[in-house]
């Protein structure tokens, strides 16, 4: 049962129970919904970016499994001060590091939802500006 206890260890469950940066920004530069239609997981990601493309503020909301919500919460803690183009290069290895554990193929799409939604938000923001 070690594996599950790792995936559902205290830090992750904490982020699930009391997600960080949960809510909405006053005037986000961009706000995007991300969904895992096959699971029903939902993450709404809001970013504020400055002219140099640096993320200055972030908020998210959503619902779904612990993995999707905790991953999104963990991610938001890392985003402020990062440049948009740094984010677009990230993938599974980064999320694995954030969570501190390999998620495995059956659930990796849950773990990636926050990151992928953020990347979609950045792409949208770029197209707008």
């Amino acid at each position: 049962m070690g594996g599950v206890d790792d995936l559902y260890r205290e830090q992750i469950l904490e982020h699930h129970r009391a997600p960080h940066n949960f809510g909405a920004l006053e005037q986000p530069s961009v706000s995007i919904d991300g969904r895992n239609p096959s699971c029903g997981d939902l993450v709404t990601m809001q970013l504020k970016l400055d002219d140099a493309g640096v993320i200055t503020d972030v908020a998210f909301s959503g619902r779904g499994c612990a993995i999707s919500q905790a991953s999104a919460s963990l991610l938001t803690d890392e985003l402020r001060g990062k440049r948009a183009d740094e984010i677009t290069e990230l993938g599974t290895p980064y999320v694995t590091e954030l969570l501190g554990i390999e998620v495995g193929p059956a659930r990796i799409h849950c773990a990636l939802l926050g990151l992928e939604t953020t990347q979609k938000a950045i792409a949208t923001w770029r197209n707008k500006s």
């Binding site: 594996g3 559902y8 469950l13 699971c39 499994c65 612990a66 659930r107």
Partner: protein, 418 residues
């Protein structure tokens, strides 16, 4: 029948398991407690052997070769069709063999639907339908500007409100398309009762039988249905396979959707005439090995006894319904309260543990359940749920499987109540 039964004549799952070698494997090093048979049933040894046997000794293109092996293949294919028809209680001449239930349901909507529906006509389905029995109707009603209407479900339990049917029949639907057994609710549609109601307003009844045919006795002609679709892999056959039964007069009036070899009468450069009967809908090389597998699956289910299978599964579901609330107190169980009103499955949700987390945690004990919308997103939306967990049972489900399930549920509770 005693090879698979207790002295009292009940199905003995411990004996049945011997026919399913996969149940003795240890995926990921853990014993397998397979509780996802509603997604796809496991294949018994006789089915796997029938495929090998056909390919090793009888393989040829049916319907074509004027040689001995070709005749053998033709005979095997047609005998398999007949065996399947017998299993389902229909004439073989009315059984169209297709690749899946999805194909069968698309055929009804796209061939019968396009041929018979026009502006303002009403098609009635339930809010609980599987996408395969919903989207094709969305498509065809949009194309011909017909109306798609819904038999609603209860907001809390998801149960289909059959007592609304009477009122909806005032719309004089040309067709009512419903699942025989809901793949989320587990409920059994009261076909015997509603078929005459529907017919009395001049409507047809199309039934998606995917979740029914392997879990209870089904005699299609006795149900009152006009169309009936099923999938081989839910019955222990191969993934590929399934079909559509329809009354001969309906088939006769339907245009083929897929065209090509084997379904024609005469072809000229600029036009073609089509074969009669079921053949018109079976374009391309017949799936002889898949159909032989399906017949072997029917044979095996009959050996187990379909009433015995149903009784066994109801016993398993009774235990699930009884012990689930103890293991996971906040579980919201969808569908009928009484296991006797179900076939094969129970779905539930929990605010404490999301269905996907539950599935992952259960997997660590080798318990395989399904989490998600089960191809019934609209139903989940009506229930304001994004996902549910589904436990489905089979002739090979044992109390040990359920013990492992409940232990896993208690693990999950412990983790999330921490």
């Amino acid at each position: 029948m005693t090879a698979w039964h207790t002295p009292a004549g009940q199905l003995d799952p411990a004996k049945v398991r011997a026919a399913y070698p996969i149940l003795a494997t240890k995926p990921g090093g853990r014993p397998l407690h397979y509780l996802d048979s509603a997604a796809t049933a496991q294949r018994p040894k006789p089915v796997i052997d029938a495929v090998s046997e056909f390919l090793l000794t009888g393989n040829a293109n049916p319907h074509r070769g004027a040689y001995t092996l070709g005749s053998m293949a033709t005979d095997a294919y047609e005998a398999a069709r007949t065996r399947t028809a017998t299993f389902l209680g229909v004439p073989a001449t009315e059984l169209v063999m297709l690749g899946s239930a999805t194909e069968a349901l698309n055929l009804v909507a796209r061939s019968w639907g396009k041929g018979n529906l026009s502006r303002g006509d009403v098609v009635l389905v339930t809010e609980a339908e599987h996408h395969a029995n919903l989207i094709p109707w969305q498509q065809v009603t949009r194309e011909v500007d017909a109306d798609l209407e819904f038999i609603p479900v209860d907001d809390v339990t998801g149960e289909i409100l059959w007592d609304r049917l009477d009122g909806l029949l005032k719309l004089r639907p040309k067709i009512v398309a419903i699942g025989h057994v809901s793949n989320v609710l587990g409920s059994i549609a009261p076909l015997a009762q509603i078929a005459p109601q529907i017919h009395s307003v001049g409507g047809l009844l199309a039934v998606d039988g995917c979740q029914a045919v392997a879990n209870m006795p089904v005699n299609i002609l006795g149900t009152g249905a006009d169309f009936y679709a099923f999938s081989a892999h839910k019955m222990g056959g191969l993934f590929s396979g399934g079909g559509l039964w329809a009354r001969a007069n309906l088939l006769e009036a339907m245009a083929p959707i897929e065209t090509g070899g084997d379904m024609i009468r005469e072809v000229r450069l600029r036009d073609a005439t089509f074969a009669e009967g079921t053949q018109r809908f079976e374009a391309g090389t017949p799936d002889a090995s898949g159909t032989v597998a399906l017949a072997a699956a029917c044979e095996f289910l009959d050996e187990l006894g379909r009433q015995q299978i149903h009784d066994h599964e109801v016993r398993m579901l009774e235990r699930v319904l009884r012990e689930l609330p103890e293991a996971l107190p906040d579980a919201r169980i969808l569908g009928p309260k009484n296991a006797k009103d179900r076939a094969g499955l129970v779905s539930f949700s929990s605010d404490l543990v999301h269905a996907h987390d539950l599935a992952t945690i259960l997997d660590r004990r080798g318990v395989a359940i399904r989490a998600g919308h089960h191809c019934a997103m609209p139903l989940h939306e009506q229930l304001e749920l994004s996902a549910t967990a589904r436990v489905s049972v089979a002739p090979y489900t044992t109390d040990e499987d359920l013990d492992a399930l409940f232990e896993g549920l208690r693990d999950a509770r412990k983790i999330f109540e921490r």
